[in-house]
Symmetry: C2
Subunit: 414 residues, 2 copies
């Protein structure tokens, strides 16, 4: 599984300590040898938490556990393993979650429902949770505020680079920080919240406000990306607020306008972190050589625009054409049409790399192909689609479909 690092990889940003968060990673040998595969993240007592999970109807046992735990709105510890997804493992899977959370809760001296577990890797094999539980004491002993990179690496599966993002925002004049890590490379599709993503802030924000902002941010980031149209059974985004920053108190939920005003800057920074991480996941799509941004305008409404953008982003014919550096706008027309959304062939315009190639139902005679060809050779490909019917717009991100995807997925379990 030593895949070459994605050409779209970005270096980890500097990740200074975030008040109330300590991290560690260890090698439990659950599936991988010679690398870390279990990550512990301890957050300050009283931290509030929000979560968004996969829409897949056959979710893993950890998703069930987290959904229940989330009702309490409080978090004290996260335990994450890579190599085994603990999905479709029946009672053994539920037992593994309960045993892991119970052991971690004892170490953290908190109720089990303040422990959140997440697993990623192969589906359908029983998680050897004894191995996982065996490393928990060592994980706790090595918790440190500067272990962000170790945590980002410890949750990787087919990822070719670790993923993290951080931003600052002001709440009532006080600077707070947001930092998050993510993993994900395949089984990445709409209706989801990526494979695994953990975001932290030192702000003191109630769980209901966190949840509202997280849902909005995920809709505008992870849920606008796709690698292969396959929605994972394990997608999890958790957002934890440790409340260590000393900003003015967030107004209660009843004074919604005041609350929103105070959190506007924070929400924007959060959205930036989520989009940054989502684009890193897209840039590490299995076999990806190019990232593709699809801007749809002129649809009958925003929902329709998003559906069209995702139909283009999920089209194997569009994605293989991009892999072949072929600005094959005919396939884009096909994908717009197959979305089933209102579209009038004779009002449709298609552009690539800032050059309109087709307009009003036909190719633009003598359009300049030179800049388009040069654009297709780059690592970032931009597609513009104007439907010509209304004012709905949306953006989606994906990657190209290459031999690498087949290589990785034709032999994942062997």
């Amino acid at each position: 599984m030593a895949n070459a690092v994605s050409p779209l990889a970005v270096p980890l940003p500097p990740l200074p300590p975030l008040a109330g968060v300590r991290l560690s990673a260890a090698a439990a040998g659950i599936r991988y040898q010679g690398r870390t595969d279990v990550v512990m993240i301890e957050v300050a007592k009283g931290s509030s938490v929000a979560g968004v999970f996969t829409a897949n109807k056959c979710p893993g046992a950890p998703i069930d556990w987290c959904r229940t735990a989330l009702k309490g709105g409080k978090a004290r510890m996260l335990v994450v393993n890579a190599g085994n997804a603990n999905v479709f493992t029946g009672k053994a899977g539920r037992d593994a979650c309960a045993a892991t959370a119970g052991a971690a809760a004892q170490l953290a001296d908190c109720p089990p429902k303040q422990v959140f577990v997440a697993s990623t890797g192969v589906i359908g094999e029983v998680l050897p949770h004894d191995k996982l539980i065996a490393v928990l004491p060592a994980l706790q002993a090595s918790l440190a505020a500067d272990n962000w990179e170790a945590a980002a690496r410890g949750i990787m599966t087919t990822d070719t680079f670790p993923k993290a993002a951080t931003r600052e925002a002001a709440i009532g004049g006080t600077t707070v920080r947001i930092a998050g890590i993510a993993k994900g490379s395949g089984m990445i599709a709409p209706d989801m919240a990526t494979m695994l993503c953990f975001v932290f802030t030192d702000a003191k924000i109630p769980a209901d406000a966190l949840q509202a902002m997280l849902k909005k941010g995920v809709d505008a980031s992870f849920n606008c990306t796709t690698v292969d149209s396959d929605t994972s059974t394990s997608d999890t985004v958790l957002l934890v607020a440790t409340g260590q920053a000393t900003h003015p108190r967030i107004p209660a939920a009843e004074t919604k306008a005041a609350r929103n005003r105070m959190l506007a800057g924070f929400a924007k920074a959060l959205n930036d972190v989520l989009l940054d991480l989502a684009l890193q996941v897209t840039g590490d799509g299995e076999g990806a050589q190019k990232r593709v941004r699809i801007d749809v305008t002129g649809a009958v409404n925003a929902r329709s625009a998003k559906k069209i953008a995702m139909a283009v982003a999920n089209s194997p014919l569009v994605k293989t054409a991009i892999a072949g550096e072929d600005a094959n706008w005919g396939r884009i027309v096909m994908a717009v049409g197959k979305s089933g959304e209102p579209a009038d062939r004779d009002k449709l315009s298609i552009g690539v790399g800032g050059v309109w190639m087709a307009r009003d139902g036909a190719v633009i005679p003598g359009y300049d192909e030179t800049p388009v060809v040069a654009h297709m050779r780059g690592k970032e490909v931009g597609i513009a689609i104007d439907i010509g019917l209304g004012k709905g717009s949306a953006t989606a991100w994906t990657c190209d479909l290459t031999h690498g995807y087949i290589d990785i997925n034709g032999s994942y379990r062997s």
Copy 2:
């Protein structure tokens, strides 16, 4: 574009003359050199016709032409070209259809609306219809009843083998024949009627009865197959009844029960022809090395079962696993879950090659992997999914996703 012949290729069946049908093929040099690329099919005066077309919202100009022509219910001539799809070509595309049909109608001495045109190939390039019209007289001169193979070959694009099927049926004690040809390899997806498929019978059946049977047959065949989830802009199935057979008269539409009784055998044979052709198209899916049959049972209803079957058939992760001969039932669970249809992880069963591997939400301990491994090495892979909720069932067909698909589609236009 010299792709190796699909390992799922079947030899052309014997195709004896069918009363009222004459065919020919010629090389017009529209895109390909050194091969035939235009096919003419003349049918007896008074032949009735039915048609089913793509659901893509950006259809090609020939689709618009055929939809209008179909209102007359009569056909005298079909003109089909390969290499250029005449899609997204604006007024030039409409003009090309009208000019081609006009020229063919003059030769056939019929109204232009009894000429059906179809085009397949690259999208967005103006069809040089002068080249096409130039070969029409030669095509007419070479019309012959035994030219089925030439016609099947003349409509191929990325197809690696010609596709045809034939059956006999009895109507009122008289034997009638059904014979059809098809092409299609990529851009094959649900909601469609394959790329191009032309079916003929010597029976004398009114257009409305033909249309009803065709729609039903296509729903149970082509619309249950997918190669790459991409719905073509050109999908066309035409069914022509030449009325040359001397069976008892089909009862009028008003006596529906009597009509259905009389046509039951014919409808079954028609369905067989359509399914045969649809499976040949799936077996020539771009890059296909294996054909996959997905049987879903126990869904809440038939519609739900079909949606689940198609979600599995369209999953790149399932298809690459099959290419890698990996019976990765975890990915099948994922695809069932992402379909969005009612499913209960803990009631789900998954089998491959006749062996149940997972049941009631977990792997079956110690199931025998040996026959499964052997089955995965074969050319035909069978997947069984029992949802465990109701009595809805459906079957879908697809092929595996291999390097060949990337090779073909990363360089289609170059």
